[in-house]
C-alpha cells in the first residue's frame, strides 16, 4: 500500500519528547557523576550507593512483576545467591570484578532457570507460593552448608572488587567515592540493558503476556518460554545486585535470601510504580531514605514503614510514578487556563 506513512514519521511530537527525555537523562547522569565531588558527606554517598544496588534489584523484580505480570515472592533467592557466589569466589579465589560478577550472574541465572522451569508450570498465587517455597529452600541451604557459606554467621570478610588491570593501585574500591562510581556504572549499564530489553520485540511479547496471556497463546506465542526467559534475566540482574551488596557491606548472610528481603523489594517496586523502570529505582530510594530517617528516631521503624506502605497502596496504587503523572496532568491543565 502506498498511502501508509512510515511508523515513526507519524508522531513528530513524540520524537521531540524523546529528545527531551535524552537531555534529562544526560543531565541526571552528569549530576550523579559529579555528586561525590560536591563536598558531599560520606553518609549521602553511601546512601546513594545503596539506592543503586537496590535499584538494580527492584528493576529486576519489576521485569517479571510489572512487565511480564508475574508476582514472585522469592526474588531474594537470586540476590542472596549472587551475594554468596561473588563472596565465595572473592574470598577463596580472586576478588577480580570480572570473575566475581560473572560468577554471581551465572549462579543466579542458573537458579532462576531451575526455579522457573518448575514454578512456571503454575501461575498466579500458586506461582507466588512456589517462588516463596524455593527461596526458603535456598535460605535453609545457606544454614546447612556451613563449610561453603559460613552457616548462620554468614560469609564475612568479602573484599571490595579489584579490576584485572592495574590492581588496587589504579582504582581502589575501598574508597567510598570509587565504589559509588562503580555501582553507578553497573546501575546505568543495568538500566540501559533492561530498557533495551523492554523496547525489543522480546520485551513487547512480555508486555503482551502481562496484558492478556490467553490471547498471546491464541495468536501463536509459546508464552511459557518467554516467561521463563524473563524470569532468568530478572534472576541474573538480581544476582548482580546481590554481588554489589556483598562487596559493599563485605558480608553475605542468610538474611539476603530470606522472604522478608523478597517482601522488601516488592514494596520498593510497588511504592515506586510497577511497570516502569524508573519507578522501582525511585521506590528503592524512598524506601532506603525512610528506613534511614525513621530508624534513627525509633526502634519501631518497621511498623511505621508498614503504615507508610499501606497509605501508598491505598492512596497511590500506581506508586510515585503515578503521583508524578497525576500532578503533571494537573499542572498542564492549569497552564492551559492562563
Amino acid at each position: 500500500m502506498q498511502n501508509v506513512v512510515p511508523f515513526q514519521e507519524l508522531q513528530p511530537g513524540k520524537r521531540a519528547n524523546e529528545w527531551k527525555k535524552y537531555y534529562l537523562a544526560a543531565l541526571v547522569i552528569g549530576l550523579l557523576l559529579l555528586f561525590p565531588f560536591m563536598n558531599t558527606s560520606s553518609y549521602l554517598i553511601n546512601l546513594l550507593t545503596e539506592v543503586f544496588i537496590f535499584g538494580i534489584f527492584a528493576m529486576s523484580l519489576d521485569l517479571i512483576l510489572g512487565f511480564t505480570g508475574m508476582a514472585s515472592l522469592g526474588h531474594a533467592a537470586f540476590f542472596g545467591l549472587g551475594a554468596y557466589a561473588a563472596g565465595i569466589v572473592a574470598v577463596r579465589y580472586s576478588p577480580d570484578l570480572f570473575i566475581t560478577l560473572p560468577a554471581a550472574v551465572l549462579v543466579a541465572a542458573l537458579a532462576a532457570l531451575l526455579v522457573g522451569l518448575l514454578a512456571l508450570r503454575t501461575s498466579g498465587v500458586y506461582f507466588l507460593m512456589l517462588t516463596l517455597a524455593f527461596s526458603q529452600m535456598f535460605y535453609a541451604a545457606t544454614f546447612k552448608w556451613t563449610w561453603l557459606t559460613g552457616g548462620s554467621d554468614g560469609l564475612s570478610g568479602i573484599p571490595r572488587p579489584v579490576l584485572p588491570f592495574g590492581g588496587d593501585s589504579l582504582i581502589n574500591f575501598f574508597d567510598s567515592t570509587n565504589f559509588y562510581l562503580l555501582t553507578l556504572a553497573v546501575f546505568l549499564a543495568s538500566y540501559f540493558l533492561l530498557w533495551r530489553i523492554i523496547h525489543s520485540p522480546f520485551g513487547q511479547v512480555l508486555i503482551g503476556i502481562r496484558e492478556n496471556e490467553k490471547r498471546m497463546l491464541a495468536i501463536g506465542y509459546e508464552t511459557r518460554k518467554f516467561k521463563l526467559a524473563s524470569f532468568v534475566i530478572a534472576g541474573a540482574f538480581g544476582g548482580v545486585a546481590g554481588a554489589l551488596n556483598a562487596f559493599y557491606i563485605g558480608y553475605a548472610s542468610p538474611q539476603d535470601l530470606f522472604w522478608a528481603m523478597s517482601g522488601q523489594v516488592l514494596v520498593m517496586v510497588i511504592m515506586g510504580g510497577a511497570g516502569t523502570l524508573i519507578g522501582p529505582v525511585l521506590g528503592a530510594g524512598l524506601f532506603l531514605m525512610l528506613q534511614n530517617v525513621v530508624s534513627s528516631y525509633t526502634e519501631r521503624w518497621p511498623i511505621i514503614m508498614g503504615a507508610i506502605f499501606i497509605t501508598f497502596v491505598l492512596a497511590a496504587p500506581k506508586g510515585m510514578v503515578g503521583i508524578y503523572g497525576k500532578v503533571a496532568e494537573k499542572v498542564r491543565c492549569r497552564l492551559w487556563k492562563h
Partner: protein, 255 residues
C-alpha cells in the same frame, strides 16, 4: 481440498453434554456459518477447534493433520486463528500495539531482546496495512480500553486477521455493533483473501446470507443440518426447531 475436519467431537461438562458427535468437513476457501440457538454449543465447538478447551472425545484435523493434542499456540503456528465472542484484547495497549503483537507472532523476531522494536519496519508496515484495511488507522494510538464497543469488536477481528491465518474462526463478529459497523464488518470479511477458510458463528441472518456459502446448524450440541444455505433453510427439522423459534429463544440477546 479439505482444510478443516472435525470427527465425532464430544464435550461434556460433568453430566452436561454440550457437544455430541459433531462432524463436518470444511473445504479450502469455504465460508461456513455455524448457527444455532443460545447455548447450542457453538462457542464450545470453536474452543475445541482452537484448542482452548480439551475435547472429551473426537478429533480435529487441520490440513489433514491430527491437531487434537496441540496447544492453542501450536495450532496458531499451523495457520489457525480465531476471534472471541467476548472481546479478548490487550486492553492496556493501543490499537497499533495490539495488532503489531499479532503480526510479530509469526515473524520469528520475538527472540530479539536487544534490538529496538521500531527498527523492524517490515512488521510496522504490515501492521499499518492491516489497520488501514480494517479502518482503524485513525485510532492507531488509542488504548484498546478507550475504544467504543464496536471498535473493540473490529480490533478483535484485526488481531486475528493479523496472524495471516489459513483458517479463521469468527465468533459473532458483529454482535453489539451498530448497523453501519455491521455493514463495514461484513464488507471486510468478504474482502478477505478468497483462499482463506472462514467459519463464522452468527445470529444475524442477513450477515449469514451475505457471507456464507455453507451452513451448519447446531441444536443442543448436535448437528441438525449441514449444507448449502437454501438446502438448510428448506430442511423441515431446521424449520421446526430453529427457524420456528426465531422470535423467541433463538434471537440473540446481545444482537
Amino acid at each position: 481440498m479439505e482444510t478443516l475436519k472435525v470427527e465425532g467431537l464430544c464435550k461434556n461438562y460433568g453430566a452436561l453434554k454440550v457437544l455430541r458427535q459433531v462432524e463436518f468437513t470444511v473445504r479450502k476457501g469455504e465460508r461456513r456459518a455455524i448457527i444455532g440457538p443460545n447455548g447450542a454449543g457453538k462457542t464450545t465447538l470453536f474452543n475445541l477447534i482452537s484448542g482452548e478447551v480439551p475435547v472429551s472425545q473426537g478429533k480435529v484435523f487441520l490440513h489433514g493433520q491430527d491437531i487434537t493434542g496441540l496447544k492453542p499456540y501450536q495450532r496458531s503456528v499451523r495457520g489457525l486463528a480465531r476471534t472471541f465472542q467476548k472481546n479478548n484484547l490487550f486492553l492496556g495497549l493501543n490499537v497499533f500495539q495490539n495488532v503489531r503483537l499479532a503480526v510479530q507472532a509469526h515473524q520469528s523476531v520475538s527472540h530479539r531482546f536487544i534490538a529496538k522494536y521500531h527498527r523492524f519496519q517490515g512488521i510496522n508496515q504490515k501492521t499499518e496495512e492491516i489497520l488501514a484495511h480494517l479502518g482503524l488507522t485513525e485510532k492507531r494510538d488509542v488504548p484498546a480500553s478507550d475504544l467504543s464497543y464496536g471498535e473493540q469488536r473490529q480490533l478483535e477481528l484485526a488481531v486475528a486477521v493479523a496472524t495471516n491465518p489459513q483458517v479463521l474462526l469468527l465468533d459473532e463478529p458483529t454482535a453489539g455493533m451498530s448497523p453501519a459497523e455491521t455493514f463495514r464488518t461484513v464488507e471486510l470479511i468478504a474482502s478477505l483473501p478468497k483462499d482463506m477458510t472462514i467459519l463464522i458463528i452468527e445470529h444475524d441472518m442477513d450477515v449469514v446470507a451475505a457471507i456464507a456459502d455453507r451452513m451448519t446448524v447446531l441444536h443442543y450440541g448436535e448437528v441438525l443440518a449441514d449444507g448449502l444455505p437454501h438446502e438448510v433453510k428448506a430442511n423441515p427439522r431446521v424449520m421446526e426447531v430453529y427457524l420456528g423459534l426465531e422470535e423467541g429463544e433463538a434471537h440473540h440477546a446481545g444482537a
